[in-house]
Symmetry: none
Subunit: 190 residues, 4 copies
């Protein structure tokens, strides 16, 4: 019962993500979203009170996905003995292959400038990623797979910042050599 409702909501969010991606939050119209979701406006508004609520829901969902993706990735890294090496290598390979850059994050970040609610979501999302990463660093140290001179929280922050810059570069130059950045990431983990 709730599941049907959830399905519908997801249907709308997917359609919205599609169009937001193509045209941006502002140029994408509710009519676009409705027709892409194959629903009438009236139906869409049964599930979301406004266009902004759709954007916000998408926003939150994007961050949740990002976080769980990172968690999953870090879980896999736990079995690695040469933690730093594998982490950087796999991360950058993932970046260069799966094109994980999601333009919606940029769209969202821009909204953040004008909508304080979005700012909070964004900040929480970021801090959560940092925290996941810092924990992974700690654990790796405990396992003896990461240099004890690394300060987990600080390094996590650096890591995320650099990653963010890299991802933005990637959005502009999709053919760039991502792997070239591995020495820099490594320096963070020394």
């Amino acid at each position: 019962m709730s599941s049907i409702s959830e399905t519908r909501k997801q249907q709308i969010l997917d359609a919205a993500a599609d169009f937001f991606l193509k045209s941006g939050f502002h140029k994408a119209t509710m009519a676009d979203i409705c027709s892409s979701a194959k629903m009438s406006p009236g139906s869409v508004y049964r599930y979301f009170k406004s266009k902004e609520e759709i954007i916000e829901a998408l926003y939150i969902q994007k961050w949740e996905t990002s976080r769980s993706d990172l968690k999953f990735f870090l879980k896999k890294m736990e079995s690695s003995v040469i933690f730093a090496d594998d982490l950087v290598k796999n991360l950058l390979m993932g970046l260069s292959m799966k094109k994980p850059f999601d333009p919606l994050f940029m769209e969202m970040r821009t909204e953040t400038l004008h909508n304080p609610r979005f700012g909070d979501i964004e900040r929480n999302g970021f801090l959560a990623l940092e925290s996941e990463l810092a924990q992974a660093f700690s654990k790796a140290q405990q396992r003896g797979n990461l240099s004890l001179s690394v300060e987990p929280e600080k390094s996590a922050k650096f890591f995320i910042t650099l990653l963010q810059g890299l991802v933005m570069n990637l959005s502009l130059f999709p053919e760039m050599d991502v792997m070239a950045y591995s020495p820099l990431f490594h320096k963070i983990l020394e």
Copy 2:
């Protein structure tokens, strides 16, 4: 004649920058811009064919300013003997005073996703900054003020990427400790 026209254009661009900053490209209306520029819509449309053309002109101008700011900054650095130290210190101090970067760049980057013309401007802008920086690194090496192990172009790219990530972080967490990042920048210049 052209000079008066240029003045008018600049008047419009300044007003537009003001409002775009406050409300974003999409929420800022032409009426806002007109009244802020103290011109009538008819006049504004004499100087720019469309709202988009204003955005584009502003876009280009922003990059030009950034580039010449960077040039000026790097010129000053030429007299520095401890080049890397001074460069990083002054750059981060500048950042923490939030002078050289502004939210419009994020707004613009987002537009890039939906308007290919903007993508070109953005890419050119980036490459120009990288090039300026790479040249500065080369010169510093020639003067003996920078380690010869630094590869100018690669390091410039790293530098810009990291800077970009940092700026984005800063937009979310204005109170963050920018200076903490100086070791990381230094590593790029070692």
Copy 3:
């Protein structure tokens, strides 16, 4: 069977009356009415073909109630020896306690302007009240409790007209002194 159906209908009419009172015919939505009646839209539409039909049914019912209230009131007056005095006194006291009239009548009267069917209901309702009143006057005269110089029908018409004006005044100035009007009503019955 019919009785259950009648109960359902009444449930809807009561809920509708509630919301029409609060928000007016046009601002009250079917959703409001449905949820207030604790029925689904589908059910409500089983009993009434349209929102307008609900309004009309309510309209008719309001007039029926008014008429039977008046009848009941006049019945009680039959035992009065000083008919005119008691009639006016009790009527105005009733008015000042705001029982027998409600704002829905105004709402309804306005609908009259745009829906001829409503005009008929309204006219019939009015004439019925007048007729009740005229009969009561006649009977009172027969009992010797009302001056024979009173022309029942004409006076009834005057009575209703004045009452109508008074009620409208009351809707605007709820604190007005209703009793002050009793001399005027008395003049009609002299």
Copy 4:
């Protein structure tokens, strides 16, 4: 300059009055009003911020007209020696001939039930009419043309109330015998 703007506003108000009359405030659409005023929506919204603002402006204007009409009428009555007779006679003749009943007043009164701003306008309008009438009564007494036993304010109130009831009756029964009410009005002025 302001005059052109005033003309446009009036054009809109006239068109709105037309459609409000035909269909009521709620059923009349902005598109109706625009096309009737031969203006585009954008233009109409240059002069009025919202549909509600149009209604309110119309409301105020209606009351102003009513008041000045009454003033003009009472001015003419000042030359009358048999004040009460002439007042009632002319008033009722006016009522029966000029069909001065304006359905918009009913529409407005209904809105009053749901919009406090309108309530204030309505109350002020009413009190102004009463006050005009009371003054006229006083003056007539001073001229010796009206019985001194009349209490101007109270009688004005009665007068307006009765008139209101009469006008409402008239709206329902346009063919009714208005003149039949003159004795009742006379009683108020005795």
